[in-house]
């Protein structure tokens, strides 16, 4: 068997090639992405939507495009956006960076159109506690401003005041948004997750516990197309395609080798 490092080299080439020779592809919209888009589209203007940044900087490439596309959609619809994160490592700073950049683009004002709550330890207690009072869990926003000083927070007490929760996550925290928040407070939850965890959540779509699902970079690309704001995800589809095809080719070659050697062995024993 040859050195596996040749395979590594092929993978690297498959990613680098489209950087040098860019190409764009038509992305088809899946029903799950459409469902999420429609749910937000159907909200009355200036509704309050919670957008979570439940991901580590290490999965930025998959998740950040989802947050960006979501914010484009929410700001364009004049929704008031409340962000929070259950991730200690980087969650708060990503939320600040992304919301501030997008707010600037759409001319939104901090404290009036959007608020970043930041991070608190122990997600179970946080998710549950916000059902009674957001202020009890987050006395201050991410920049240590008391919530009482932020005009937007005047009308927000708990989940009852939130029309939709858009969870963007790279881990199993989604389970608790479903089993605690959606189940006990009935706030609709739409999710954008990494491709690793996406398959699991198909089970929650038909049960109605989840309203719409975006899976990984492809999901992000679909949402980018839906809100007509081309970003990183649509650009990444070329590299994504090449590496997938490479891996499929490797599987096929591996199996041809496997069957050839098995036949040779059978012949030798016969």
């Amino acid at each position: 068997m040859f050195d596996r490092r040749w395979i590594y080299l092929l993978v690297a080439l498959a990613v680098i090639f489209p950087l040098i020779v860019p190409a764009t592809f038509k992305v088809h919209i899946t029903p799950e992405a459409r469902q999420l888009f429609d749910a937000i589209e159907a909200l009355p203007d200036s509704s309050i939507v919670m957008l979570t940044f439940d991901y580590y900087p290490s999965t930025l490439a998959e998740t950040e495009p989802i947050s960006v596309a979501a914010l484009h959609h929410l700001f364009r619809k004049d929704c008031r956006v409340l962000t929070m994160t259950t991730i200690p490592l980087g969650g708060p700073s990503i939320a600040e960076r992304v919301t501030r950049a997008l707010a600037k683009e759409h001319g939104k004002v901090y404290g009036v159109d959007y608020v970043n709550l930041g991070f608190k330890y122990n997600y179970v207690a946080v998710l549950k506690g916000m059902g009674t009072s957001i202020e009890a869990i987050y006395p201050m926003d991410n920049s240590s401003t008391p919530l009482s000083e932020l005009p937007m927070m005047e009308s927000i007490r708990n989940y009852d005041d939130i029309s939709f929760i858009f969870v963007v996550s790279d881990n199993a925290i989604v389970d608790y948004w479903i089993s605690i928040v959606n189940a006990e407070y009935a706030t609709p939850v739409g999710i954008g997750v990494t491709a690793v965890s996406a398959p699991k959540y198909y089970a929650f779509i038909s049960s109605g516990q989840v309203t719409g699902l975006l899976g990984g970079m492809k999901g992000a690309a679909e949402y980018e197309r839906l809100v007509k704001a081309e970003g990183m995800a649509l650009k990444g589809m070329a590299m994504q395609s090449l590496v997938h095809l490479l891996i499929i080719a490797l599987v096929i070659i591996g199996n041809i080798g496997f069957f050839a050697s098995r036949r040779a062995r059978r012949r030798a024993t016969a």
Binding site: A183, E184, P199, A203
Partner: protein, 211 residues
């Protein structure tokens, strides 16, 4: 681009490449990155707990007159008893408080939020007016859920009817895992694209500025 920005990019690029170098083989650069990584991530937690818990949830509210917070502060401090073997049992009190509360939340949320709705969603009519496609979907769902549950049933040997159902369960499980694998490939490749983009656009970009 300022000098400090270029430096930032170079530092990030150095550590990115140091980690990637492990693909070729283990080497001192990887070891260096590995150990710096371990230290930084531990240090990150300290800063985080300090700001979001000690200051924001404990110190500021206590200064504002919430004296009841003395109790969680004490419980938290008791955790450190673990470091002194003789009184380490005291830390169990704090631990029990954390574990007990979490257990209570879990007990309810798993039974109420997971099992009931997932059971209900499986009770699908097998004869549907919407046509053969919908009926087939319902059948796949019902058989899939039941055979998966049966595969993970340990109280009887998997023989006879139980064995057949469990076998169907394995087939379903393998297809689902295959789908999962295919989906995950996408995730990992996306992250590689992220890093390669950084090296190609940001890092190589600095070469144009420097040279």
């Amino acid at each position: 681009m300022s000098g400090i920005e270029i430096l930032q990019i170079w530092v990030a690029a150095f550590f990115t490449l140091a980690i990637f170098s492990f693909l070729y083989k283990d080497n001192p650069f990887f070891k260096l990155a590995e150990h710096v990584f371990a230290g930084l991530s531990a240090g990150y937690y300290v800063g985080l707990v300090w700001k979001s818990i000690i200051l924001q949830q404990l110190w500021y509210p206590m200064m504002a007159g919430e004296w009841l917070l003395v109790f969680p502060a004490m419980l938290g401090a008791l955790m450190f008893a673990r470091l002194v073997p003789k009184i380490s049992w005291v830390s169990r009190v704090s631990l029990a408080f954390v574990m007990g509360t979490t257990a209570g939340v879990f007990l309810v949320s798993q039974l109420n939020g997971m099992i009931l709705p997932q059971m209900q969603a499986t009770m699908l009519p097998l004869v549907l007016s919407e046509g053969a496609g919908a009926t087939l979907m319902a059948l796949v769902m019902v058989i899939g859920v039941i055979s998966t549950l049966i595969y993970f049933y340990f109280s009887k040997e998997h023989t006879g009817a139980l064995g057949v159902t469990a076998k169907v369960g394995v087939w379903f499980i393998m297809i689902a895992f295959g789908a999962h694998f295919g989906y995950t490939v996408m995730a990992r490749v996306s992250l590689l694209i992220g890093r390669v983009n950084f090296l190609y656009e940001d890092w190589l970009g600095t070469f144009l500025l420097i040279f």
